[in-house]
Structures are given as C-alpha cells and as structure tokens.
Amino acid sequence: MSKVQLQERYNKFSKAAKFNLNSEELFCVCRSVDDGELMVACDGCDEWFHFRCMKLDSKYKDLVNNFYCIFCNELFHKGSTLWKKKCRLEGCYKPVRIDNSTQKVSKYCCDEHGVEYMQNELLKRFSESTKECKLSEPEIVSVITQVDNFTEFQDLGKEMPIYQGMDVDLPEDKARRLDELNTELAELKQLEQLYVAKEKYMVKLKEKIKLINEKLAGSETGAQTKKSKKPKVDVCGYDSRLIMNNERWSEFEGSDEYKKMLQDVDLGMSDDQLKSAYEESQPVLGLCMVEKKKCIKHATWFSIQYDTVMLKLNEILYKIAEVEKTKSRLDREWNLEKIEQQSI
C-alpha cells in the first residue's frame, strides 16, 4: 500500500463517526460495535482494532507485547509491533515463562511443554538417526530414567561401572595372575622401603661423620690453643655396611648397631678414645677413620653409594608403576567381561 493510499485511508478512518446511531462506540477500521470479538489496543493512538482486521491470527493473542496499528506504524512511525518469545513446543502459542525473581528466560511456557518438547525431539532424532544404535528404545528410556539430573546424565560412561562380586568368581588363571602381580608388588614395595631406609641412613651417616669431625677438631684445638687457625679434620667416614646385599642389610636394620647409628649425639665413646682411633686410623662405629684426602681407596664413596641407592630406588618406583598399571588393566578387562555377560 502506498503512502498516499494509506494517508487517504487514515483520513477516512479519522473522520469516520465515533458512534453509531444507537450511540454505541465504534471501533477498528471496520467501524463496528464491540461484539465481543478479539481486539487489541494500539499503543500509539489508543484505538482498538480487531485481530482479524489487522490480519493477525487470533492464536497469537498471548504473544503481543506492544501493538502499533498500521497507521501508527507505517504513517507516523511511532513504533512497530513487538512480539513476545513463543514457547518452543510446536502448536503452543503461549509466551515463554520468565522467572520473576531471577529474570531468567525459559524456552518454554511451562515445565510440561518443556518435557514434551524434549520427548518429541528425542524420538525424532532417534528415528531419524543414521548412526547405528545398539540400544533399543526402552533401553534408552531406562538409561535416561536411571539418572536424576542432567549432570549425572553427562557423566554417564565416564567411569567404569564396577561389577559387584568381582573377586568371588574370578577364574583360576586370572586369580593366579593377580596373585603373582600382588606378590611382585609386595616384594617391590618391600625393596622400596629398604632403599628409602638406606637413603635415610646415609643422610644420618653424613651427620655422624660431621659430628666426628667436629669432635676431633674440638679435641685438637685444646692441644693447640696457640694456633689461631682451627685445625680442620675431615675423615673419610666410609661405612662398609653400605655394600651389604639386601638380606644382610635387612638383618643389620634390625640390629642395635643400626639404632646406634641413627641416634643423634652419642658416639658411645669418649673423646680420647675417638682421638686415638683417629690417630691410628682405626675404624669407629664401622666408619673409615683415614683422613679423607689420604683415603684414595674410598674417594667419593658417598656420592657413589648415594647414586647407586637412588638409581635402585628410581628403578623400583618405575617397576611398581608398571605392575600397578598391569594390575588395573587386568581388573578392567575382567570387569568389562563380567559386565557384558551380565547385560546379556
């Protein structure tokens, strides 16, 4: 409709009588009385218009937010009609629900329609899907109804379902293999402990050697007070027990000697005894008492032994990780097998 035509129509509309002969108010472009037919008021001119005359389907009645008649819209540009968001469900023409407290906009007019829409959608997708689905419809339903909420649904399949009573009916070969792995693991753990203890022992040993050095240096300052420089004593301190094999080391670990080595302060002998042992290069507490620089045999013994212990320890930790991996894989395989059996 051209602007001129529209103007003409508006002139006609505005000049038309507001009341009929019976003094009844007349509405809409059709100038008829209110006979109960659905009407809408224009937000621009406050005139009432028939839905039908405005060429609107009456089913959209709930969706109108702001209505502007054809004149207000196209002639005076006061605004154009705004619609509310429609419920997603096909066939429902109610506006979507807006939560008053949170101002959150739903996609549906009500909960029921939301559920109905998703049901339809699911069935549609299920029937249209080209992917192979091993689950039948009731199975899907049971999967969905088993979860309480959406996050639970999303988490489905993330974790392996655990078959109940796994250990009970383990076949013999599997049980044996698992036993083997467990014993291996136990042995490795024991070894790990042994080497961890050995490492700790070595740290203590270092302290002990320091203590001996200090004591020796202290006793010598007494004799040589005139010298301002404190004579430095640095004994080799090599402990021949470190190269014992594992069985003998375990034995040693249980002995009093071991406990004595781990004690902090007490050397178990007087300073004089210590001094004479040092002068004669006699071992104290099983430690080499030769001056470090003169002890070619045991040169750098601490780092060598420490490295050896650490190498072994790392090796064992790696092996433990390997065994545990194998174990969990076995568990998993068996679990899967069982669960598949169960579902059949």
Binding site: Y238, S240, I243, I296, K297, H298, A299, I304, D307, T308, L311, E315
Partner: protein, 404 residues
C-alpha cells in the same frame, strides 16, 4: 651384497683402511665386540652399557645398573653373558637373555678392570685400585681370593700394585701387570703366583694375549709396547721362555699407547694413541713394521677393539666419547650375480648372433643341462664365511624396544 660374490682380494684384506662411520651414542669409555662380532658393547661414562648391533649400527639394548664410568667389558664365549666393571666399585655379570644383572660383586674401591674366565662365566679376575688383584667366583655367594702382587722369587721387592689382569685363552693362567713393570703369572687352579718377569720399570697398562695364544703384548707407560712370543702353556712354568720379539714405539712423537688389540691370527697388532696424533697404528707382528695408520678422528682415542670377522677396528674418543669405525670398502660387483652379464666401458652396436633367437626344444635343453653335470648344492650350509672364518652359532640378543 653377498661378500662371497665380491672381489676375493678385497674381501680377504686383513686389516681395515678407511673410516666408514662414527657412532655418537653417549660418551663411550670402553668398547668390546662379542666373540662372533655381531654385537658391540659400549660402556658409557655415566655407567650405562649399550649393546649395539653391528649389522644395523643401532642400539638394541640399554643396560642400567652402574652409576660411574665403565672401566672394562668382557663377553662370554657364547655371547650370552657380559661382565662389566665400573668406577662405582661394582663388577656385574649380565645375562643378555633377560638383560638383567645376575651376579654382582661390590669391592670397596674402584675397579681398574675385570676379565671373565674364558672357561667359566661365573669366575673372573679383577684389578682393584690400591688393593691386590682378586680372583672371584660368583656362582653362589661371591668367593673372593686375593692374588699376590709382589713378584715371584724376588727379595724385598718395591711396593707396587697390580694395574691390569688378563686370562690366557685356555684359562689356565692369569697374567697380571704391576705398577713397577712386573709381569706376574698366576695359576688359575691354585691361585698361586708361579712366575714373574720384569718387563720394564714403569706401569704396565695393558697385557694383551692374541686369540690364538701365539703372542703377548705388554703396553707400559714408558711409551713402548713390547711383544713377546707366548710360551708354550703345556710345558711346566719354570721352563717358559718369553722371547722379546718387537718393541713398538713412536720415537718422534713419543706417543703413549692407550689400548691395543691383536687380530685373530696375531699377524697384526693395533694400538690407539694418546696424544696429538689421534690415530690407530697397525703393525705387522712378524717383522714389527708399521703398515697402516688409521686416521680420521679429531680427538684422542681411548679404547680400541678389532672385529676381524667384519674387518672392523673401532675406537672410542676421549672428549666426546664418539665411536670411530674403520673398515674396508669393497666395490660392489653386481655382475657377479649373473655370470653371462658383461660390464662394458662404452656403448657398442648390438649385433644379433646367428642362433640367438632360435627355437630350442625344452627336452634338448634339459638334456644339455644334464650333460653339463655338476649339481649345485643349495641345501647344505657353507662351513666358512667369505673371509674364511668358520660359522659359529652365537647367542641372539632380543632387541626389545627400550622403555623409557
């Protein structure tokens, strides 16, 4: 290409002449070929031992147990066991079927070198720092027997220590060398010192006995390698005669020799040099003449080993630990595969022979072949390889991928 099809004069060369490859697998301090020559064990400065396959030159096993530089390696005859000694005071016996340490012996001082008894893989002899050498039996709990260092039959000998040890190929005697230049002979069965020989006045660094028990070479820090005839081991020790055959030295450069190896029949001796020259010298042992200097390394050479089945000499370098491999390069001769194939210098016009495309009846042909006789034996294995070495079965090491 199949060696036996190649030029026999090139294949049968006795010693390598060209640098063919360098291998940089870590800092190698010690190398040793297996008896068959199909594997090379390379001990690294950080204590790892690599087993390198000599066909592909790639590492097939990594042995981890030592934490300090490897000082010596020794293969068992069967190729399944490997004895290693290290500066971390340990001597390990490896079983290469599982690649695990099966026996380990911890001395309370660094180990100069250890040599496996050729007759018994569980026995070895080791030279220790600041201690007497030891003979060890590790079949069960390690049984350590101290061996003497002071020379036999000498009164008030100067204090000295044993620096190197070696077994004779028949395992009956142990030869040890001391820091005062004495060569001691120890009987394996009794662990008693039975003979001593004063070789020189300085440290004996290596004692090398040729695989065929014919020659003995002693390397000492006076920069001279002395080559002796090996006494006949069957006669009583008292009647042994060590005849000094040759003295090898570089009179100009005054080179220190680092390591030395005989070839299989002791006709040649090679030695690596410590000094500015970076070469491996090869002498012919009968006359003592220098016949070849292997060049190409840019670094001082440490360990050296001779793989005579492959005709390789491998040496490890000091600064980088790279392995240098010298070998013979044999020109490929593909015409050997088809006897009627002719190699031509330039293009020639082809002229068809009179009977070239004549039809020949198949029966006639078969008859002709039969008449020519001489069946070709394709079933039996050859007994010797192209270089004339008998084929021997040796242990095959699994090349399991190295797990990290």
């Amino acid at each position: 290409m199949n060696l036996s099809l190649l030029d026999p004069f090139a294949v049968a060369k006795e010693y390598p002449d060209t640098l063919i490859q360098t291998l940089a697998y870590g800092h190698s301090t010690q190398i040793r070929f297996s008896q068959k020559g199909d594997y090379l064990a390379s001990g690294l400065a950080d204590g790892i031992i690599l087993i390198i396959d000599t066909d592909t030159n790639s590492t097939i096993q990594v042995l981890r147990d030592h934490t300090r530089a490897i000082t010596s390696l020794c293969w068992s005859k069967c190729g399944r066991y490997l004895l290693s000694s290290s500066r971390d005071w340990k001597v390990n016996l490896w079983d290469l079927s599982s690649c695990k340490v099966i026996r380990s012996c911890n001395f309370e001082c660094p180990v100069w070198c250890s040599v496996m008894n050729p007759a018994n893989k569980f026995q070895f002899v080791a030279a220790l720092v600041d201690n007497d050498p030891v003979f060890v039996d590790v079949e069960n709990e390690p049984k350590i027997t101290q061996l003497a260092t002071s020379p036999y039959g000498v009164e008030n000998p100067p204090r000295q220590s044993t620096l190197t040890v070696n077994f004779t190929p028949d395992a009956k005697y142990i030869f040890t060398g001391t820091s005062k230049g004495w060569l001691n002979v120890i009987e394996t069965s009794t662990a008693q010192l039975v003979r001593s020989l004063n070789v020189c006045g300085s440290n004996i660094k290596n004692i090398e006995i040729s695989p065929n028990s014919a020659k003995l070479a002693v390397n000492s820090s006076d920069r001279i390698i002395r080559q002796y005839t090996m006494p006949k081991l069957e006669v009583p020790v008292g009647e042994w005669e060590f005849e000094l055959e040759n003295r090898y030295q570089d009179a100009v450069n005054r080179l220190q020799w680092n390591a030395l190896r005989f070839n299989h029949n002791s006709e040649y001796l090679c030695a690596s040099t410590l000094g500015a020259t970076h070469d491996v010298y090869i002498w012919e042992t009968a006359l003592g003449s220098l016949i070849k200097i292997l060049e190409g390394s840019n670094d001082e050479l440490l360990a050296v080993d001779w793989n005579y089945r492959k005709c390789w000499i491998v040496a490890s370098t000091m600064d980088t630990g790279t392995l240098f491999i010298w070998s013979v390069v044999i020109p490929q001769k593909w015409s050997a595969l088809a006897p009627d194939f002719e190699e031509i210098e330039q293009n020639i016009d082809y002229e068809e022979k009179e009977d070239e495309f004549d039809y020949v009846d198949e029966d006639d042909m078969n008859k002709q072949i039969e008449e020519e006789g001489e069946e070709v034996d394709i079933l039996r294995r050859e007994e010797v390889d192209a270089r004339g070495f008998p084929f021997v079965d040796s242990f095959v090491i699994d090349s399991v991928p190295v797990s990290e």
